[in-house]
Amino acid sequence: MKYTIKDATTGTEYICRDDESIFRAMHKSGRSIFKGGCEGGGCGICKVKILEGDYVKFKNMSRAHVSEDEEEQGIVLACCVKPLESIVLTKEI
């Protein structure tokens, strides 16, 4: 399956497979909202808030960047989550 990831700030849309991270979908497009990143949940550059849509976390996120509280509020590292449906997110947390 493929879903749409939309950045609420710029309105930019990305195609994301259900077996790849949101970060990778953005990265592959060449129009990512992130200037690079570790894609390993370590550097924190891809921290976003999910505004709409369901997702699944498949990788540990460094606690240096996302606390348990934040995680409960839908704040995630985009390289550690895959979409379960189309997603709207923002970098402005």
Partner: protein
């Protein structure tokens, strides 16, 4: 070969958020061998071409990043001498209490940049070492990127002027290359205790105890190409390269392991001598210094650390 008091950075311990995936990566993509596991579950690794018991330790942790690096010094007397000199410099020294199988006494202290640095003189030989009698280049055909040794590391932290002073005045290293800000403050330092262009480097940064990368030595430019093929094949997140540094002149490719720590595979580089004049970079030329072919800086390169 050491020409000062330290032989090499011989041991690095890194924190990883996914121990299983990271170990798998070091083993099959970088090509290191697993030496074993400590009683608390840390995993010890080494390259096929290293002699010492192990050189890399990965530790499961809630955050990725740097734990410590340990420098091997020439002998036991030098170790005691450096311990006293470190204390005289102003850093309280402790004896490392966490187990590193095969290693003798390790002294440790916290550098002004927030990083733990250790010193040791004794370590056992590993079970699997390169051949000594009529040696072939390798015993078993090297795997993956065919990493030959843990080569160097780049740390980010505050007050690298003091860090430089410690490594030069106490450890007896020298800085073949430097880069200052326009107002004359250190921006980056490359330091070595031997003929390698660098054993350790520092970049001035507000946040203490962060690491930019640790690097493994590859044989040559062809090996860098092989590493790039593996990056494509294994969907590794590449950062920069393959390219060449004007600084140290090494050929290089940067990427991230599965827990997000940046790794460099590095080949070549000039031979450094303590009596050679120092090379100096203007900060507005540093893009070309770091990435000679591109001639520009990449924001991800300066800003992303663990």
């Amino acid at each position: 070969m050491a020409i000062t008091k330290t032989i090499r950075p011989g041991l690095i311990q890194m924190r990883v958020t996914d121990l299983k995936a990271s170990v798998e990566f070091y083993q099959n993509v970088l090509g290191l061998d697993i030496v074993g596991q400590t009683s608390d579950g840390r995993v010890m690794l080494k390259t096929y071409d290293e002699f010492d018991h192990h050189s890399v330790v990965l530790k499961q942790a809630p955050e990725s990043g740097f734990d410590y690096v340990a420098f091997k010094v020439v002998d036991a007397d030098t170790l005691e001498e450096l311990k006293a000199a470190t204390e005289a410099f102003g850093y309280p020294v402790d004896i490392a209490s966490d187990e590193q199988p095969g290693f003798g006494k390790r002294y440790g202290f916290k550098l002004c940049t927030g990083h733990r640095i250790e010193l040791y003189a004794d370590v056992e030989l590993a079970e699997k070492i390169p051949m000594l009698k009529n040696p072939d280049p390798w015993v078993e055909m090297p795997r993956g990127m065919r990493a030959q040794r843990f080569d160097h590391l780049l740390l980010y932290g505050p007050n690298i002027a003091e860090a430089e002073r410690y490594f030069i005045e106490v450890l007896g290293m020298f800085a073949p290359e430097i880069c200052d800000t326009p107002d004359g403050k250190p921006f980056a330092r490359w330091l070595t205790g031997g003929n390698k262009a660098h054993d350790i480097a520092f970049v001035e940064y507000e946040r203490p105890n962060t690491i930019h990368h640790h690097a493994f030595y590859l044989e040559d430019w062809n090996a860098i190409g092989n590493a790039a093929d593996l990056i494509g094949k294994h969907r590794v997140k590449r950062d920069v390269g393959p390219t060449r540094h004007a600084i140290t002149r090494g050929q290089t490719i940067y990427f991230f392991e599965p827990s997000g720590n940046r790794i460099e595979t590095y080949a070549g580089g000039y031979a450094a001598y303590p009596d050679n004049p120092q090379r100096e970079w203007d900060i507005d030329e540093i893009g070309r210094g770091l990435f000679y072919y591109e001639g520009e800086l990449f924001p991800s390169f300066l800003e992303i650390v663990t």
